[in-house]
Amino acid sequence: MLLTLTGVTKTYATGEGPLTVLDGIDLALQAGTSLALTGESGSGKSTLLHLAAGLDLADAGRVELAGVNLTTAGDPVRAGLRRGTVGLVFQQFNLIPSLDVAANLAFQARLAGRHDPAWTARLAQVLGLSALLGRYPEQLSGGQQQRVAIGRTLAARPQLVLADEPTGNLDEATGDAVLDLMLRLVADTGAALLMVTHSPRLAGRLDRRVTLSAGRIT
């Protein structure tokens, strides 16, 4: 199993007392499969994604990624996993504003030590970015920026792609096109995909679907 969450609980302190965002979550994801995580706003979807990426730590339970227990791993180990095993696609794209499209596309692959210029060029072509390689993020539309973010993730050939509403900032047509691309490329590379989405329509296109409500899987 590539990713396993067992009895995971996460609580935040708020002005009105502690707020339990995740409450005893059990979840598993195999390599080469895809899973949609849906639920209302505030149901804990993004928090679950953050825990799976090692960006945050669970208060209780166990998060295991590629055989490593993230709950007890230190920052360098978790950073290493993010660099080598995980690929993150953010809703806000999070491109490096001072690097051009070509440098952004190759960025994570270079960090992971797996930069393959031919593969990156093919991704650029498939994603329709070949003509934009010299541009900077501020010169791109939202859809173009999201395609760069997906390309950056896939160029590093991660085992697990974690996507947080990757089409949330795009119109429906562009969102569909981007998702098509992402699913095709994830399947090509044999990676697993865990995608947070509000949209039941998009969720229906993945292998499995899990719905969160008030911090629990329903």
Binding site: R82, V86, N94, I96, S98, R110, L111, E138
Partner: protein, 794 residues
């Protein structure tokens, strides 16, 4: 890691102006600091070389008890008696600034340094015929060889010093048959007393010149350090802004797998690379600054202290390394806050470009309270502390405290302005100005420090000038000063002068320990010249009568303060103590000094020579009398000095001193202006969300730009208002605390409103110029750029 580093560095490629500001700030800070250090190092090296030229800082001497020359026959008698001594003739070559040293290489002690001739052909040439004169190449270049021996150069000699055979020196200085002193070889000497009138003098424990010039170098160092600190404000501002702009990128890097430690390492590496590049540039600029200022500094030191300093710079490895070290340390210091924030950056914190400004606004109150505490500490240190550390501690706390209070003060004033404003546009203007304060606070603090330093140091120097010139008028009351070459000549001079002058006032002095330190006793004639003019700080009634009657003495301010004396206290002198009946100011003299009646001095120090006289004469006749004196007695140049020449020289020295100070003032203000420019330029992009709605509501871009210009001027003017009392307080601390603790004398403080008004005008002009580019940019900004704020595409 390389990818991470390239991502970090790519920020600078996309923001070249920001990079230029960072580099320029650091380079200028390093330049001024290392430039001043280069000047100081060059001057100190010159003093050391001058002191070491004959090893006189390490060798015992035999001198005449009365300070006059030694007959050559005495030297011969001492050699025959077994004394291992070597003759030296020393004097200033007439009509030049050259200090001539005549030596005998055959008997010169082995430890005497910097003597280029010892053996062989050189020695033969040195001793034979017309002889040779060895000079520093720079000194030789400026000397006309008329009547001089063959010139030879040796870079090991200090500037302004010529070395020749003792016989040649005697001829050139008109000292045939006489010697200045004898150097004593280290080792055993005959166990017999010296002939009457000769005494042994221990080696100097330090160079007098180095001590005398300490105050000047201290001022330069303080200025250099201040300029460095102001430069660091620019660096801090640029690094802080770069950190805020890259906050989202840093989070992305963390999310993509770089650990906090790795990112920290990369940022440190980036900073050190930038510091190294800027430091090298700064050191190069510093060399140019030092080379440009050194001739003025050298002229000042020569005129003020008689210290010779080379007019050209040497490159010392220590100076390079120290400059680079300062650049590195300064960068790390300026980046400290950003590095701390980076280390504590939460991985999942939302990217908020304005969070920094908001956090700064929140912390302004805390910062203001810390500033107030420092001002309290400063007041305590200055009121109750003693010595130099308390003075400098108080000074530092005053400056830092005031700087920390400034942003809060501006927030309060602009808040008050907003409450009092009537029109909606004026209210928005005040509110928007208030919002800009946190972002501009560092630049405004730099401006405050630069202005306060300019006011403080300018007031100190101008007070010094005014007081010193007035004091010279009083101390140099006689129209002419004449020095005889022997006691016999002095008697003939006195007799010749008596019918030709209003008064001949002998100037008698003897060296004696005062409170355990080497001091001077002067004999002062009871004459209206002194009664009417001598600058007294405190005195008992009929002070001059008491001194003339041998019932008391006057002490100089240095001794008065150092020993915490009061009027009536007794001062021990050979022949019995005398009570203090008066205190006089004695600027620039590092030694304790007392004045007593001439008769009392001769009774206590019977061997005192009576060679110098002040002459009172109608000023219109002074020139003719001087010429007649020279013609009648064949006195050498320099033996007769007129008051006007001395004063003109002093004024010239001060103008040169001001040239150096003014240059440093302008450079420091320039750096502060640059800090303003850097902050305004970088903030102009960040504040579009505040400007765009007002534009959308109907205010034209040129009008918005004009308001921005007015805002900058308003903030600069408010800072200037704060800098005035701070600068005057700084001047007071320098004059009344630091100067007294460091040098023992206090200068009365004088305020020069014209200078302050001029500085204020320059500050406003600098702020206006600094805001021009951002303002023009706003006036011409494309509407699409403002619309993007509403499109929320970023």
């Amino acid at each position: 890691m390389r990818a991470g580093l390239s991502a970090l560095l790519s920020h600078w490629l996309r923001h070249p102006v920001q990079l230029a500001m960072l580099m320029l700030g650091l380079a200028l800070a390093t330049a001024l600091w290392s430039g001043v250090q280069a000047i100081n190092a060059e001057a100190r090296a010159s003093y050391d070389r001058a002191a070491a030229v004959l090893g006189q800082n390490r060798m015992e001497r035999i001198v005449s008890q009365d300070g006059g020359p030694i007959a050559q026959g005495l030297y011969v008698a001492l050699r025959r008696d077994g004394w291992k001594v070597s003759p030296v003739v020393e004097g200033r070559l007439p009509a030049t600034d050259l200090r001539l040293l005549g030596i005998d290489p055959l008997t010169l002690p082995a430890g005497a340094a910097s003597v280029p001739v010892r053996t062989g052909a050189d020695l033969a040439d040195f001793l034979s015929g017309g002889g040779q004169l060895y000079l520093n190449p720079e000194t030789a270049a400026g000397l006309r060889p008329d009547g001089l021996p063959a010139l030879r150069t040796d870079p090991g000699l200090p500037p302004g010093t010529g070395l020749t055979d003792v016989g040649v020196a005697q001829r050139l200085l008109g000292m045939e048959g006489r010697l200045s002193y004898l150097l004593v070889s280290p080792g055993a000497q005959p166990d017999r007393p010296l002939p009457q009138g000769l005494v042994r003098r221990a080696p100097d424990d330090g160079t007098d010149i180095a001590r005398l010039t300490d105050s000047f170098h201290l001022n330069l160092t303080a200025f250099g350090f201040l300029a460095f600190a102001v430069g660091l404000f620019i660096v801090n501002s640029a690094i802080g802004l770069a950190f805020e702009q890259r906050r989202a990128m840093l989070r992305t890097l963390r999310a993509l797998g770089l650990s906090a430690r790795e990112i920290m390492g990369l940022v440190l590496l980036e900073l050190l690379v930038l510091a190294l590049a800027a430091g090298m540039t700064g050191i190069g600029l510093g060399y140019l600054v030092a080379a440009a200022l050194l001739p003025d500094v050298a002229a000042t030191l020569r005129g003020l202290y008689g210290a010779e300093v080379t007019g050209t710079l040497s490159l010392r490895p220590g100076w390079w390394l120290a400059g680079l070290g300062m650049a590195m340390a300064g960068t790390l210091l300026a980046a400290g806050q950003s590095l701390w924030r980076l280390w504590h950056l939460p991985l999942l914190a939302p990217a908020q470009p304005r969070a920094w400004a908001r956090a700064t606004a929140r912390s302004l109150w805390r910062q203001g309270l810390a500033g107030a505490a420092l001002l309290g500490l400063s007041a305590g240190l200055l009121a109750f502390g003693t010595g130099l550390p308390a003075g400098f501690g108080g000074l530092a706390a005053l400056l830092v405290g005031a700087a920390l209070c400034l942003p809060l003060g501006l927030i309060l004033v602009t808040g008050l302005g907003g409450r009092m404003a009537r029109g909606v546009l004026v209210q928005w203007f005040w509110a928007d100005t208030r919002q800009q304060v946190p972002g501009l606070s560092l630049a405004l603090m730099a401006l405050l420090l630069a202005l306060a330093a300019n006011i403080g140091v300018g007031t100190m120097v101008s007070s010094f000038r005014q007081t010193f010139v007035g004091w010279l008028d009083q101390r140099l009351a006689s129209e002419l000063y004449v020095t005889a070459r022997s006691a016999d000549e002095a008697r003939r001079l006195e007799a010749w002068l008596a019918p030709r002058t209003d008064a001949v006032l002998p100037i008698l002095s003897a060296g004696t320990p005062l409170f355990g330190r080497p001091g001077e006793v002067y004999g002062i004639t009871d004459h209206p010249t002194y009664r009417d003019n001598w600058p007294l700080l405190a005195a008992l009634p009929d002070v001059w009568g008491r001194i003339a009657a041998g019932q008391g003495l006057m002490v100089n301010e240095q001794l008065y303060r150092a020993e915490a004396l009061a009027l009536g206290d007794a001062v021990d002198l050979p022949g019995g103590p005398l009570p203090v009946v008066g205190v006089y100011s004695d600027y620039g003299n590092p030694r304790p000094q007392v004045l007593i009646a001439p008769e009392s001095l001769m009774a206590r120090f019977p061997d005192t020579p009576r060679l110098r006289f002040g002459l009172r004469v109608d000023p219109d006749r002074a020139g003719a009398l001087a010429a007649a004196l020279v013609a009648e007695f064949g006195l050498p140049d320099g033996a007769v000095v007129d008051q006007a020449t001395l004063k003109a020289l002093s004024l010239q020295v001060f103008e040169q001193t001001f040239a150096v100070t003014a240059a440093l003032n302008v450079l420091t203000l320039g750096i502060a202006g640059l800090a303003m420019f850097a902050s305004l330029l970088t903030l102009s992009g960040l504040r579009l969300p505040q400007v765009a709605p007002v534009w959308a509501m109907g205010l034209t871009r040129p009008r918005l730009a004009l308001l921005d210009f007015a805002r900058t001027l308003l903030l600069a003017a408010l800072t200037l208002v704060a800098a005035l009392p701070l600068g005057l307080a700084l001047a007071w601390v320098l004059l009344a605390v630091v100067n007294v603790a460091a040098f023992g004398w206090r200068l009365p403080m004088q305020v020069f409103p014209g200078d302050l008004a001029r500085l204020g005008g320059i500050a406003l002009l600098a702020a206006g110029v600094a805001s021009l580019i951002p303002v023009l940019r706003l006036a011409r900004i494309a509407p699409a750029a403002l619309l993007r704020v509403f499109a929320n595409e970023r």
